[in-house]
Symmetry: C2
Amino acid sequence: MKKYVYAFEEGNKDMKEILGGKGANLAEMRSLGINVPPGFTISTEACALYYEVGKKINSEVKKQTDIKLAQLEKKMGKKLGDANDPLLVSVRSGAFASMPGMMDTILNLGLNDKSVVGLANKTNNPRFAWDSYRRLIQMFGNVVMEMGHGDFEHILDSVKNTKGAKYDTDLTADDLKEIVTKYKAKIKEVKGVEFPQDPIKQMYSSVNAVFNSWNNYRAIRYREINNIKGLIGTAVNIQAMVFGNLGDDSGTGVCFTRNPSTGEAKFYGEYLMNAQGEDVVAGIRTPLSVATLAKQDPKIYKELVDTCNKVEKHYKDMQDMEFTIEKGVLYILQARNGKRTAAASVKIAVDLVKEKVISLETAILRIDPNQLNQLLHKQLDPIAVTNAKVIAQGLPASPGAAVGEVVFTASEAFAKAKSGLDVILVRTETSPEDIDGMHSAKGILTARGGMTSHAAVVARGMGTSCVAGCADILIDEKAKTLTIKNSGIVINEGEFISLDGSTGKVYEGKLNTQDASLLGNFGTLMTWSDKFRKIGVRTNADTPHDAQVARKFGAEGIGLCRTEHMFFEGARIKAVREMILAGDLEARKKALAKLYPYQKSDFAGLFEAMDGLPVTVRLLDAPLHEFLPQQKKDIEDLAVEMKVDVKTLEAKISDLHEFNPMLGHRGCRLAITYPEIYDMQVEAIIDAAIEVKKNKKSKTVKPEIMIPIVATTKEFSILKDRTINMVERKMKEAKIKIDYKIGTMIEVPRAALIADKIVEAGAEFFSFGTNDLTQMGAGLSRDDAGKFLKEYVAQDIFAYDPFEVLDQEGIGELIRIAVKKGRGVKKDLKIGICGEHGGEPKTVEFCHREGLNYVSCSPFRVPIARLAGAQAVVRELQSKKGKK
Amino acid sequence: MKKYVYAFEEGNKDMKEILGGKGANLAEMRSLGINVPPGFTISTEACALYYEVGKKINSEVKKQTDIKLAQLEKKMGKKLGDANDPLLVSVRSGAFASMPGMMDTILNLGLNDKSVVGLANKTNNPRFAWDSYRRLIQMFGNVVMEMGHGDFEHILDSVKNTKGAKYDTDLTADDLKEIVTKYKAKIKEVKGVEFPQDPIKQMYSSVNAVFNSWNNYRAIRYREINNIKGLIGTAVNIQAMVFGNLGDDSGTGVCFTRNPSTGEAKFYGEYLMNAQGEDVVAGIRTPLSVATLAKQDPKIYKELVDTCNKVEKHYKDMQDMEFTIEKGVLYILQARNGKRTAAASVKIAVDLVKEKVISLETAILRIDPNQLNQLLHKQLDPIAVTNAKVIAQGLPASPGAAVGEVVFTASEAFAKAKSGLDVILVRTETSPEDIDGMHSAKGILTARGGMTSHAAVVARGMGTSCVAGCADILIDEKAKTLTIKNSGIVINEGEFISLDGSTGKVYEGKLNTQDASLLGNFGTLMTWSDKFRKIGVRTNADTPHDAQVARKFGAEGIGLCRTEHMFFEGARIKAVREMILAGDLEARKKALAKLYPYQKSDFAGLFEAMDGLPVTVRLLDAPLHEFLPQQKKDIEDLAVEMKVDVKTLEAKISDLHEFNPMLGHRGCRLAITYPEIYDMQVEAIIDAAIEVKKNKKSKTVKPEIMIPIVATTKEFSILKDRTINMVERKMKEAKIKIDYKIGTMIEVPRAALIADKIVEAGAEFFSFGTNDLTQMGAGLSRDDAGKFLKEYVAQDIFAYDPFEVLDQEGIGELIRIAVKKGRGVKKDLKIGICGEHGGEPKTVEFCHREGLNYVSCSPFRVPIARLAGAQAVVRELQSKKGKK
């Protein structure tokens, strides 16, 4: 017969699919000789069988379980539920992946009206025995018998009231005995059956409950949301109970083999003697540092440290472990890779390489690239955070730490910052008028608005820390106070708070911070990554400042400079509007001539900042209506400013209105209608390049001129010819050669489909604009799809939000087609991606796999892309090895 | 040496690429032994060479030309420009395709101060000689020497004034001599050079001018606009002149071998004796019917008829010919396939098959499918039209003829039509309130608005004749008059006019009309087409009426029934709005329950009308906001009607607003959010099918349920599962089996890219929604692209408007991908197209080539698609034969 039940001795860590994560780990530790309470695991295959035969435990499974139980009883020298010296067991679920939606644990199985007395006698601790029984009935009642939580809590509270007990621990053995009686009566009353006295029945009912919980609503939703697929069921672990609360020679605790906050290679943890895990949560006694255990019981301490080190060495990663000391004997109840901060993650990986525990490749794969984001901004000191008071929780809208005096208006922020103070701007919500104050503030805190609110978007753009939508706070701008709703804490203007924009937490007072360090362990990790990485990493940057930040982060060029941002500032927008309102070519050229010097200096700044690295400039992409106001008042003001009458202006705005602007008159389409716009931009680019080269501000200049929204060969060739004419003329005049390229965005699906012809027409590079490609390819408007995309991801219609993680199946196919067709004509065609996906690790891996030359992303995502690019190579190498 | 110059004897009709159309035809006729005045052709290759060497006539070309001229002189027994008996020649351009933008003709070359006297003496007709010379100088001056037209017209008019001459023909030989002197002086004055007296110089200057005209602005634009590509240049024809105005034994005329209006197989034409072509245009003498020539000169008449018949038999098509009789000798100057009406086109093709002149295949290829549109509507009697007065010209907005009394308001139209009168509704422009009047009218005439104006769109939808944007008219609604601007004609209410919506012409009075005939020659053509056609032709129809019309036209099923149209009428829209405003599922279901009976009866009507043919029903596609009003006033009214407050309603409308509705929450996306909408529709479809089958209203019912806007496999499978559940349950309850299918639109590019997976998920058919596929695939919003698409087509960025003719290169590639992937999984997957492209002939051919099962188009396009489908097969057969 097929094997369905495994003693811990029969498993190992590679059997997670059959034994689940917990079962496999317990087995592995036993095989290492670590003192794990004995037990056995009913496999995930038994769970699958349970469903196959109509939610029944198969007789073979039962037979094998009975055998394993008998072996366990033999090993422990006790019988399950024995009236004198009962074996007690826990039943725990344990799937391949950790899954919070499922039933977790039932403890103390085997207790009944008789064995509770035996346990009391045997341990000489009636209170412990009755409390254990009380807990069993409550857990079993809730989970297996599906009683309401209120049913038991109500009884417990009423007894506590009667007895004048403040905490559960104030209850005596007799009190608990009374509660047990009342619990059992309640079960009988509600369910019409008795709490089962038969320990075997208790056990199988619990196994049933675990199996059922695999397909309860929460578990299904959890798998959906977390994209967990292909699993056949959960395993069930049945394990002998051990107790840390049997006296002063007993205890329980949690420890980490290294510091999970800092990564420091130092044993770290907390424990309590004569206690159960729950006692820590109850908050009556303060847990002690494991350092204390070293003094209290050096022998046990040494055993614990040795054990932990052994496990870490075995798993080759920092371990988070649970232990119990029962009457001087150390048991390990759980070991798993410990969660850690980004800083700890990097330090531990680097240290483990230096300790020769893991390889470079493993270290590279260990770090979640997205986590790096935390390290690229100023951070709160992790030690300081441990002792700090979180006063409110909002959305982590823009990462990084900020510490400063609270101010409630943008003008105050601006004024105080000017006088050298650090300020946090606190607003109910921000609006465009606040922009100067936002620029001046170290951090921004808002009471309303989500991850895409004005505050959040602007803050991320500026790289300023921001906690948004913090519903816990109440702002009184007049009184200049910030009140925390729950606690009633009031913070006045000028008082300090600290923000963590990476977690959304708001702290009282002035915490220490530490600067982003691109050196040290982080620098080491980046250097290692670059050794493996093959795909280039460029940045999306529109200003010299952004370009400098990105270079610091390791950007190898600019993959996307959006020129429309440059059209909005100050005097420029006026010239842009003059151009739009111009009645004829001459007037348009006149307005464009005003823009030219701005554009030229913009580009010169970028060329200098990038110092010889390639700079891809996308010519104007936005539709013209984006440069005109929409509100009545603004239109009237503009009419006065532009000296046109309101009706004329309104008519122009209405004329430019589009039903589907995303599919409208923009990008190269505008340039087909008004070629003079691109002429001006190209002239500015090439003149800037010539100037920078002539003045030796950069040893070389590599402009790459990129034409957006190309859908047809001819659009490209018309505009390419004009560009070449301009560039060649300018170079001839200046007697200088510039190493320039002309290429195109691939963002309209049609362009991907005719990529070969676009290359034949002379495109020297492609850059995938995956935002638009997603919008058009999947027919989703980014501005509108929010309404239903969340639901789409929840229902697994899309595995991820396709605007966050590239849809590799659909939009990826367009990319594959374009790469194949483009390279079919020009083998060494340079291909990149410059949508916001360019800094998303899964997308970076995809781009590597498809042979792209580079990804381009926002400056703060550059290190993420570097690591992700390295991981892609390592995974590829491993999979090749695997195939051999 | 390469041959550049061909005597007419050396060419034939298959040499059009080298000799141009005119040259090849003249050569062909000579080889048939037809009396064509001798001459020779300088080839298109000579033109190409002219440009290659920098716009110079190559010496080899000159040498060959000189030789051919000498041979021509020998043949004619005259020398070019001889002082006593000069040979005169014409110089004419002639490219592969007829090209109005180029220089056309210079006549009478060879005349100079001396030879004009010789010609006068020789013909004994000084007036003729001097008039010919006058014309040569004028033509040569304009075309070759680039003089302004005014320069000569001014002189001509002033002499006419002085002499009191009304027409040119009133001028005497001496008057003309005076004019010649003045013309020459003017040339000297303006250009500083003399009119060339050297006949050889005259000739080569003219050849130069023809070559230059190949690349003048108008010719280049003409080639761009008409998508004429790949031609190397124009040929030049040099031909001996013959004259129809040398006395009563001379004459000139135009004839058709069959009647170009009706197609009747009867010789047809007009002529004048002692005249030149120009005299007909001058309008002094009324041309005579060729029937008169039979009496006047039976011998010449017989020769003419015999010649024409010979040419028709040779070219196997009706010929449009020009002839000249010079002193009793018949010359043919031109023969070409004659232009004809749609009715004539069909009749001639059918007759030629019956006469065994052409094959079925040839007949099928002869007819332009788009022309058939004329035949499907009531038409003006072509004979009546010949004598009718066109009073105004507008846009051909909706085809068909309409005759009726003029009315100026919709209510008047409604009232008069109710009393049995035929009315034409005349409006400056129409608006939605006019809808009843528009329904009542036989035809609609508007002064403003284009092809997509309200009047045009509504009229086409109703199949009512409409002339729109007729700028020639002035409407005074109060005075109830319609004034024609140019002529001042005033038409009062109640007076008759006639419209031809296929040409945009407005006629005075009450013309005879003839009904659309689907029998006779048309029926024969359709029967023949169906013999060849392989691709199915279905119709897009939302009502039983449309379905019946389409079946009459030969539709083989419904390929697209749009259900949103059904949501707009009367009481339904209220229920739809209730559903949209419903706060929860129950309320939504309640509102949907009100819609169900309407939907059921809609579908039952369609199933009955189609009597067993398949009926594809597309489930709701439109976004919800389309069902709510946008105007303040309408919103307020609706709030009252729905008993909600205005703010709530406005909030809902604002909530549903989308930035890019084309890419928004519509189609199956709505059904993922609100599955109850499709549930109701599916229930209505299947209940209707069961009812119709049960009541034996149709022997069988074949519903095909189509899910729109599918972009992912899972959207399809979720909705397919719900649909199957509903259908199976309903069939079980009714104990009836319905032959149903579930399929999907392919209109989101992503769907095309994963077509294989959609078939794996159970799609039983695909239908390409090429409107949306074009919008998303090419990134063009149909509502917005009008602003620049015209320019795009003019610049040949798109060969055709991609919303009219399918973009085979780009969007076609998505179709090819989807067909390949879909059929890769299911070999016999049924695939159709139901965008508006489905009735466009080039697209039909594409669909045939790509192996689609059917096209679906509006009822009036069904015959067009049938013919286009047949043509596709015939062309395929021919191209296969060609390859063998």
